[in-house]
Symmetry: C2
Subunit: 361 residues, 2 copies
Amino acid sequence: MLSETDQSVALLPASRVLVIGAGLIGTSIALALTAGGHQVHLRDRTSSHGLVAASLGAGTVDEPDEVDLVVVAVPPAATAAVVVQALEQFLDATVTDVASVKAPILADVRDCGADQRRYVGSHPMAGSHRSGPLTARADLFVDRTWVVAAGPQADPASVAQVEAVARLCGSRVEIMDPVEHDLAVAEVSHVPQIVSSLMAANLVDVDPAHLQLAGQGVRDVTRVAASDPGMWTQIIMANRSAIRSRLVRLRGQLDEVVDHLDRPAAVTGLMTQGVHGTKLLPGKHGRTPLDYVDVVVEIPDSPGALARLFADVGRAGVNVEDLSIDHDVRREVGYISIAVEQTKAAALGQAMVDAGWSLRL
Amino acid sequence: MLSETDQSVALLPASRVLVIGAGLIGTSIALALTAGGHQVHLRDRTSSHGLVAASLGAGTVDEPDEVDLVVVAVPPAATAAVVVQALEQFLDATVTDVASVKAPILADVRDCGADQRRYVGSHPMAGSHRSGPLTARADLFVDRTWVVAAGPQADPASVAQVEAVARLCGSRVEIMDPVEHDLAVAEVSHVPQIVSSLMAANLVDVDPAHLQLAGQGVRDVTRVAASDPGMWTQIIMANRSAIRSRLVRLRGQLDEVVDHLDRPAAVTGLMTQGVHGTKLLPGKHGRTPLDYVDVVVEIPDSPGALARLFADVGRAGVNVEDLSIDHDVRREVGYISIAVEQTKAAALGQAMVDAGWSLRL
């Protein structure tokens, strides 16, 4: 069960922190900790990364004698070994990490005989397609979810320390069991990633002339397949047992679709379940998803057009719930879809027409 | 092979046209034909639809004695029978239809012994989640692709007539073999739709607490799964043989993923193929897709914010290639991702900061 923790948990007392891994995530946490008045040491296998992070004000590259907390922010595949090493080097420190899969790291800590009381895994759910210390920001985690996934042996004081770091970074803390966390991210992140990659990989041998008929649907389905294969391989390998069980389920459902493609009721059943599934994803601001309506406006492909358009949208006093641009493949024009509440669509459409825009229904 | 036709093909001479099916598509074509000076008759099983379309200026509900052209714009499952009936009722008329699957209709025309010389299938690639004559517009097809999929027996004069209708509606005409068209839409539209529905259906039994960890990836993959199940069942049933062969392929690839989930090289191979696939989709304006970079700006959730934002983007003189809004689930704030060419990202980011916006990296 996922639950938000008591916001009154004590703040992190002035601490000495070692951040191992001065990439985007590690350096961002180090910047936030330094800004919060903590003494931060930085360690990175690539010494220039540590030096760059230090030059940004994230801390010092001097090795500490003792620390209260170690934050391990290295690539997923290297995380468990670095966590174990840190637990062994600093015998009084709490150690946390930021990898997006939690149970295997806890298992490695246990299997190595390291101190499970002082290890508290975490998963700050923010990131970027950029990497390296130069892309770091103290506010990277503001308003993001930060899952704290402590094992059963974890010392409550260590859990509180990690929660305090997350809160210092501006995140919302969610406490989850590590195994449950891994199942959740398999379901809502890792399996969708694999499905998107499968669909995109399937396009590789499609006749380029056929690809000319591609519309917005296939673009949406395959968008996340453009992500970094190396990083995703590490994540998938780490979480493969949770992923496998969901993928096997999905394969069973695909088998049924293939086997019953001649039965309209089976096809309708799948599509109807799909519609239901889309409605279960949490809506904007945690509200129940409303049935938004798209108002589609033709926009010339010039720098000032969007500014004029949104000035007119603003004058209509309508709140924009979502946006997308659909480009015409061969003409220098685009269509922008403005999703608004159903009750506002007619008014916005009229306001756009009155302001001289062309609507596409 | 898909090819654009000669734009110098003769315009449609003044004609008598019967449009069967006064929904969004039929009424939109009728409006364009009427505006082009043709005499349009409307027929709909639901008589009020015909009357509404006529009241919009789309034509008359009087039954014609003779016509030069019949446009069949009824639901996919009913199309073939209505086409055959039209070929038999009007012995000198060319008959076209607008269904999104072409080979089965041609096969039905042939199997019924109807005149294949006068049947020319077409697929105008526009639509809407709205339906009914009230949503129709004469410019619905402007700049959209309109596939003309004539069978081997089709009379060149009939093909020219249908091409002329498409061009009158403002569409770009693509000539494709019906079987090839159906394979193409299976590949780039129908299979992605099924994959999206499968993924979304898979969410139905996920713990709601786990769904709280959903990010943009799963939303993108499942977006098109929100489409109308009834319409999609008809499309999938009509094209199931082309769909089946691609789905079986996809199932084989999924089997491989499941079987080799312990092998990092296999996982990396899939993800890398996926990245390759995403790059094959035609880019904006038919150019090779560039590597766009997202500049992510925090926006307050208020009507005027987007107007101010795009005024500032406009002043930066940067062309916006794509847009998306990523909402924070529990806070009244959103993040807008502005995709721009790589060489422009730094300048836009700086301009946004200078104008007082907060960037998210």
